[in-house]
């Protein structure tokens, strides 16, 4: 009778290996037994399995104490202890990449064989990445070692229902086994360790029955769970740099003040952004594939409108900083610099603070009182604001001498235009100028036919304002299709609801008066050309191409151009390269930086806020040498082991663990109620329940699934830190597989 003992770890397939060996002999007609030595330990525990075979019927029902051969599945189990009872000259088969000679010294009295079964299993995709199943490879090795036919081994593998990679693994191990068929005979069975005398068990009355396990099961682990914090896609794309996930989770916890506090640490304009932001966070929300993006824009507005928070200043300093321009970039920079303790003066050329927030965005989207409230908050931080102060090149140099730093945030003052000829020039107005006149209530368009040229927010704002001022018919002429419009999609939809027409794939080429004297009906005639979309351009959008001989005429009373803006650089010396973070006016010592649209031409409020904040940090670092960002992020790390600057993609999320929930859109005025006045269209959300839809991608929100599912009870939460008791954690990965948001990952030891 031949008896074989298998040493492995729970979950590696040792019992099946014993059965594979037994089946090989069973199919050859031998009497066989295969069994495990079972206990309470699960995955990862050192375990043993046994196999015996004989040509005669086997009557032995005992464990195997003196095996003829042993097989070791796990390299970490290789030690002198495993040879206990092994007969002298017996084979020791090790799953190891090294040649058998490498183990000669450790096991002198036995024949040795090695095979890298782990590599073979991995090559054949057997098991999981972390736990390769090596038994089908090892039965091949055992077969070769003990002189079985390869065909008998393969028949056994097939008999147990394994195929494909398992057969290949058995064959490769059979062929690749390395052996050292010699040993040092000591006469006596020297290598046989004497059976240790079992220690006296503790009395039940000594409490032994309830004692904690004495085995440090953490020693069995080949991997350990770790916590990480990754970057949610919303945070990653937010041009303002908001902690979107953070404020959403605060709202989900019904902590509205905390949500506002989180927002105000980044942006002084949550009420503005909660109304006008194009919200790239929503375009990148991982929930899109589940049941639609979280309504982040409206939740930001909810926090701004319903929360109360005062962000305290961090320090007090003597340096003076001047900010030229009071748009969102300039005011954001001023706000942060004031928080850092600087004495800040904002200089605005116009009569009102706020730049385009005030004059460029109509009141039905952004009521004045919202802007007032947020500017007042900045002022409360001690920012001095002066209006009616024009800053030209000379004045800028003057400021540079009297201040420690200057930020120029004058935005995009140059308006792009279209050459339509001079015949009807008085009928053409720039959108930005039109909206400014609207703001000052200087214009009515009763009964007019208005054409707006462009596809951005200024175009949509102009068109909808025109409608509200009594226009009879408003048409947006755009050279691409609505899909390519840079404007916020919801705004485009609302414009269409209100009856505004869109003439897609159309390019105006000329305008002339439609003189009644020439038989016309008054107004103007806009000659347009049809377009088609060609190959994508550098913006990724398909480039519009003119279709020859396709001109047609649109009669109108007014044409509004909304084609975008570019910076006015006249304040700087000729040839100055203006971009964010580069120092201007190199000849003087004072740092002067261009910020916001002037530097980035980004064109969104959120982008301006981001630029303003980054620039404030930049100035602060330049003047003080402190790295503020590190200080600000410490809080967010929440005792994780690893901070990864990687964005969490939907594939990394365990979407099946989330329940479906419809998005809350909030209430709004109907087209009938809104299209003749400047009342705010969107009425906001009634409550912040929508925030509960936030998946908190890559950031622990203490859902405690990991704690609940840890089968060992070795994972505890204390406050917002999690304690893994690695001395007992076996690395089963249940916590990682139950974490819905990819916060826990397994690291190989």
């Amino acid at each position: 009778m031949i008896e074989i003992r298998v040493h492995g770890r729970g979950g590696q397939g040792g019992v099946t290996l014993a059965k594979l060996i037994a089946t090989t002999r069973f199919l050859e007609g031998d009497s066989v037994q295969a069994f495990g030595l079972y206990a309470a330990e699960r995955s990862g525990a050192p375990v043993q399995a046994f196999c015996r075979y004989d040509a005669e019927p086997i009557t032995n029902r005992n464990l195997i104490y003196e095996p003829d051969h042993i097989v070791v599945l796990d390299p970490t189990l290789i030690s002198a202890a495993i040879t206990g009872g092994l007969k002298p000259g017996g084979w020791i088969l090790l799953n190891a990449p090294e040649p058998p000679e490498r183990f000669r010294e450790e096991f002198p009295a036995h024949r040795l064989a090695t095979i890298d079964a782990t590599a073979i299993a991995r090559d054949n995709d057997l098991g999981t990445r972390s736990v390769p199943i090596v038994n089908t490879a090892l039965v091949g090795a055992v077969g070769r070692m003990l002189g079985f036919e390869l065909e008998s081994v393969l028949a056994s593998v097939r008999h147990l229902g394994f195929d494909g990679g398992n057969l290949d693994a058995a064959r490769r191990a059979f062929e690749g086994l390395r052996t050292l068929d010699e040993f040092v005979s000591s006469g006596e069975s020297e290598s046989t360790l004497p059976a240790p005398t079992p220690p006296r068990p503790p009395s039940f009355l000594d409490g032994a029955g309830g004692a904690l396990p004495q085995i440090r099961t953490g020693q069995w682990a080949s991997q350990q769970p770790r916590r990480q914090q990754m970057v949610p896609p919303c945070n990653h794309v937010c041009p303002a740099g908001n902690d979107v996930q953070g404020f959403l989770q605060a709202l989900a916890r019904e902590e509205t003040d905390e949500a506002l506090d989180i927002l105000l640490r980044v942006s002084p304009f949550p009420g503005v952004c909660g109304r006008v932001c194009p919200a790239p966070c929503m375009d990148n929300c991982n929930r899109i594939g589940l049941d639609g993006a979280v309504n982040v824009r409206q939740l930001e507005r909810y926090a701004a409108d319903h929360g109360t928070a005062v962000v305290e200043a961090i320090a007090e300093r003597d340096e003076q900083v001047a900010v030229v321009g009071s748009g969102p970039a300039g005011l954001t920079a001023a706000y942060h610099l004031a928080r850092f303790g600087y004495r800040v003066t904002v200089l605005e050329a116009g009569e009102e603070l706020g730049g385009l927030l005030r004059t460029g965005i109509p009141g039905y989207r952004l009521p004045d009182d919202v802007t007032d409230r947020e500017i007042d908050r900045i002022r409360e931080h001690g920012v001095e604001m002066r209006t009616g102060v024009e800053v030209d090149r000379e004045r800028l140099l003057e400021l540079a001498r009297s201040h420690d730093a200057i930020l120029v945030a004058t935005g995009l003052q140059e308006l792009r235009t279209l050459s339509l000829g001079t015949a009807g020039a008085e009928g053409v107005i720039q959108g930005i100028e039109f909206l400014e006149r609207v703001h000052h209530e200087e214009v009515r368009l009763d009964g007019e036919r208005v054409i707006v040229v462009g596809g951005g927010n200024t175009a949509i704002d102009s068109a909808r304002s025109a409608l509200r001022l009594g226009a009879q018919r408003v048409t947006i002429v755009y050279r691409r299709t609505p899909n390519e419009m840079p404007a916020i999609g919801e705004e485009v939809d609302q414009a269409i609801e209100e009856g505004i027409e869109i003439e897609s794939l159309t390019l105006p080429v000329a305008i002339r008066e439609n003189c009644e004297s020439d038989g016309g009906t008054g107004g103007y005639l806009l000659t347009c050309r049809s377009m088609e979309l060609g190959a994508p351009d550098e913006s990724g959008r398909r480039r519009p191409m003119e279709i020859p001989d396709s001109d047609f005429i649109l009669p109108c009373d007014r044409v509004i151009l909304a084609l975008g803006q570019s910076p006015d650089l006249s304040v700087f010396p000729e040839g100055t390269e203006v971009r964010e973070g580069s120092r201007l006016l190199g000849l003087i010592e004072t740092p002067v930086f261009a910020i916001g649209d002037l530097a980035t031409a980004d064109g969104t409020v959120a982008g301006a806020i981001g630029s303003g904040r980054r620039s404030a940090l930049h100035i602060h670092e330049t003047l003080s040498g402190e790295l503020m960002e590190d200080v600000e992020h410490t809080e967010a790390r929440r005792h994780v082991d690893v901070w990864r600057d990687e964005v969490v993609h939907p594939e990394a999320m365990r979407m099946h663990l989330f329940e479906l929930a419809h998005r809350s859109n909030g209430a709004g005025l109907s087209p009938w109620e809104r299209s003749w006045n400047f009342h705010e269209v969107h009425q906001g959300l009634d409550n912040a329940g929508e925030a509960k839809r936030c998946l908190s991608c890559g950031v622990c929100n203490e859902c405690d699934r990991c704690v609940t599912f840890c089968p060992e009870g070795v994972l505890k939460r204390v406050g917002n830190s999690f304690l893994f008791d690695y001395s007992f954690c076996k690395g089963c990965a249940m916590c990682a597989s139950e974490c819905p948001r990819n916060v826990i990952f397994m690291s190989q030891i």
Binding site: A18, K19, A22, T23, F26, S31, V32, Q33, A34, F35, G36, Y38, A39, A40, I58, T59, N60, R61, N62, L63, Y65, T197, P198, R200, F204, A208, G209
Partner: protein, 397 residues
């Protein structure tokens, strides 16, 4: 017939399922299932079996598992279940009910140490706790015997002269989880061996009755006496079932007791389960060395096969009973029944109890040698001896 390499649990699951399926042209099969180590594989096997007629019902406890099987049996279905250890303890009330209802339910029990403290290894204390209930108890030593005995148990239980439930027992892991070559009979043979169940007192909707309502003491006593009569008939009917088994399956299944080298033996070991097969090897070896030793393997524990045991041990001077169980304040349970068996007989044999493998320890040939050495040196019996206990019992303060 197909010989396969399967575990004891697989063998039991196969037998239960084939027996249930054999009743497909009558009232089908019913099995309430609830898992417990080490029998879970049995109910898993049954749950995955495609029964033509019947129902496998997963429930929330062992008590309900037996409840389902009771209901199924009362409705005329061939009913069965499996359990182990503390699960059996929880099932006890309904186990008793099945017996007093005279239902031919077959249960496979994997003998596992009762806790606490927790222990999953072999010990017969769980099924022996049921010894005073109206259940027939059969103990098996290997996979083939588990399979064959389970089939036999249905025929025995359903015999009109018996109508009592049967529990078929095997040692945890040593049988339940060990792969051994086992002959798996085809369904048509099982069909031949197990004719459709026709339960005389089954519930019929066309004749509604209440079964098991209040009875007077004289009636209760009468029912007990009926059970006693049925129990008395078990050895005879068991033997009939055995010979029918050989006819249908072409192999023999072990008797209520099996004897080995007892003819002129002076010292006889009495054992059950897997200990018996190891003891047989020891006896064979010592016979070769010229020692007058023998072995009785007890398979049928309830009713206790008194007549056969007396006959088998007629010439012995010393009987050594190996018990893988411990009745608190008494000793090994097979030992107690052996002593009772010989009380009042002509035999004057010394009867010594040995507690071996209690709590699941491996009963090795060396341990059995020590038992025999002790037994053969004895001139008088003592309290049961704890064998392999470290430190010895005398040292436990």
């Amino acid at each position: 017939m197909a010989v396969e390499l399967v575990t004891g649990n697989h063998a039991a699951g196969y037998a239960l399922s084939a027996a249930g399926e054999a009743n497909r042209n009558a009232r089908g099969a019913v099995c309430g299932i609830y898992p417990i180590t080490p029998q879970t594989e049995i109910v898993e096997y049954v749950a995955s079996f495609p029964f033509t007629k019947g129902e496998v019902v997963p429930v929330e406890s062992e008590h309900s598992a037996m409840g389902v099987s009771i209901g199924g049996s009362l409705a005329g279905a061939r009913s069965f279940t499996a359990s182990s250890s503390n699960g059996l303890a929880y099932m006890v009330e309904n186990i008793m009910v099945a017996g007093f209802y005279r239902l031919p339910i077959v249960m496979v029990a994997v003998n596992r140490t009762l806790g606490p403290p927790w222990n999953i290894w072999a010990d017969q204390g769980d099924t022996l706790m049921l010894r005073d209930f109206p259940w027939i108890q059969l103990y098996c030593q290997d996979n083939q015997e588990v399979l064959d005995t389970t089939l036999l148990a249905f025929r025995l239980a359903e015999d009109r002269r018996i109508l009592l439930p049967v529990v078929v027992c095997m040692d945890a892991f040593i049988v339940s989880h060990t792969q051994m070559e086992t002959e798996l009979p085809p369904q048509d043979r099982v069909d031949r061996y197990l004719p459709p169940l026709d339960l005389p007192h089954r519930l019929r909707s066309e004749h509604p009755v209440t079964l098991g309502g209040l009875v007077w003491p004289n009636e209760a006593m009468f029912h007990r006496a009926e059970i006693d009569e049925a129990m008395d008939r078990v050895p005879e009917v068991f033997a009939e079932c055995q010979s029918a088994f050989s006819k249908v399956f072409g192999r023999t299944v072990d008797s209520a007791i099996e004897t080995y080298e007892t003819g002129d033996a002076e010292s006889v070991l009495i054992a059950s389960g897997t200990i018996a097969i190891t003891a047989r090897e020891v006896v064979r070896r010592r016979r070769e060395a010229g020692e007058k030793v023998g072995l009785v393997k007890i398979k049928l524990f309830r009713p206790f096969p008194e007549a056969q045991l007396r006959a088998a041990c007629r010439s012995a001077a010393r009987l050594g009973v190996l018990d893988r169980n411990y009745a608190a304040g008494a000793g090994g349970i097979f030992w107690q029944d052996t002593r009772a068996t010989f009380q009042g007989s002509a035999t004057t044999a010394l009867i010594q109890g040995y507690l071996t493998g209690v709590g699941g320890g491996d009963v090795t040939p060396a341990l059995i040698d020590a038992v025999l050495d002790d037994l053969m040196a004895r001139s008088e019996a003592s309290r049961p001896q704890w064998m392999g206990l470290e430190p010895p019992k005398e040292d436990i303060a």
